[in-house]
């Protein structure tokens, strides 16, 4: 999926990511840009405005959790399906999340990285990261039945 060079550059950039902030920002932006995704988070309290969403402590906490999991996945780029097998079952059997949402969140995460890293987020880095988020999304969808 990724060349050795791509793995190095992805890991290097991600090493500079503030996981607790970026996760919350990505999840928040997902919920604002694609408001129908809020259907899974009705128990999160106030999501009524963009400010409410971005400032919501539950969104931030959950975003951090999601990105920590994504970080772990980066250590298993050669076996994402194996790495995310349990989470895939959880999202299918307990959470009932349409896998399309994983693709949407992956794309939002890429935009958040672009925002934080600016010109450093080259087309080549974007290409590598898009491959990673696609791989993670597919891995999370893999155990659906």
């Amino acid at each position: 999926m990724l060349t050795a060079e791509e793995k190095t550059s992805v890991t290097a950039l991600f090493g500079k990511v503030k996981v607790d902030e970026v996760g919350g920002e990505a999840l928040g932006r997902l919920l604002v840009v694609y408001p129908w995704t809020q259907r899974f988070f009705e128990h999160f309290g106030d999501l009524s405005t963009a400010d409410a969403v971005m400032g919501n402590p539950q969104v931030k906490a959950h975003g951090k959790k999601v990105l920590e999991s994504f970080s772990d996945g980066l250590k298993h780029l050669d076996d994402l399906k194996g790495a995310f097998a349990k989470l895939s079952e959880l999202h299918c059997d307990k959470l009932h999340v349409d896998p399309e949402n994983f693709r949407l969140l992956g794309n939002v995460l890429v935009v958040v990285l672009a925002r934080r890293f600016g010109g450093e987020f080259t087309p080549e880095l974007q290409a590598s990261f898009q491959k990673v988020v696609t791989g993670v999304a597919n891995a999370l969808a893999h155990r659906y039945h």
Binding site: A50, N107, V112, A114, R115, G118, Q126
Partner: protein, 141 residues
């Protein structure tokens, strides 16, 4: 369809990139071709390895069209009608490619505007660009 606030966010972002259509357009195409290489099939007239001049020229044309859409965002169907005809009759770009362009567009905006690229701007532009894509593919069948 677009609220007053959304229109303001769309115009605000455009103000930040107006005058640099060629630069932004070239980067959009560079990202599109690098991240989603299959999209190159629609740009064969630029050759196998488009150079900077070609990307700037074609990128400028695309972004100028977006600028027109910004100016007439209340009446996209009318103002984009010739482009809709072009896409339906000549270009026939498969509709699944438009979200790929939109993703690259968001990355271009985010990487250039950075701290100024608010979530409201991202949301408004996603909605706006999706609306443009709908109009451009509306006459396909």
């Amino acid at each position: 369809m677009l609220s007053v606030q959304e229109r303001a966010h769309i115009a605000q972002v455009w103000d930040l990139i107006a005058g640099q259509e060629a630069l932004f357009g070239a980067e959009l195409l560079r990202r599109l071709f690098t991240v989603y290489p299959s999209t190159k099939v629609y740009f064969r007239h630029l050759g196998d390895h488009p150079d900077e001049v070609q990307l700037l020229n074609h990128g400028q044309r695309m972004l100028q069209a977006v600028g027109v859409a910004v100016q007439y965002m209340d009446n996209l169907r009318a103002v984009l009608s010739p482009l809709a005809d072009l896409h339906a009759q000549v270009l026939r770009v498969d509709p699944t490619n438009f979200p790929l362009v939109i993703q690259c567009f968001q990355v271009v905006l985010a990487s250039h505007l950075q701290g100024e690229f608010t979530v409201e701007m991202q949301a408004a532009w996603d909605k706006f660009l999706t609306g443009i894509a709908v109009v451009l593919t509306e006459k396909y069948r």
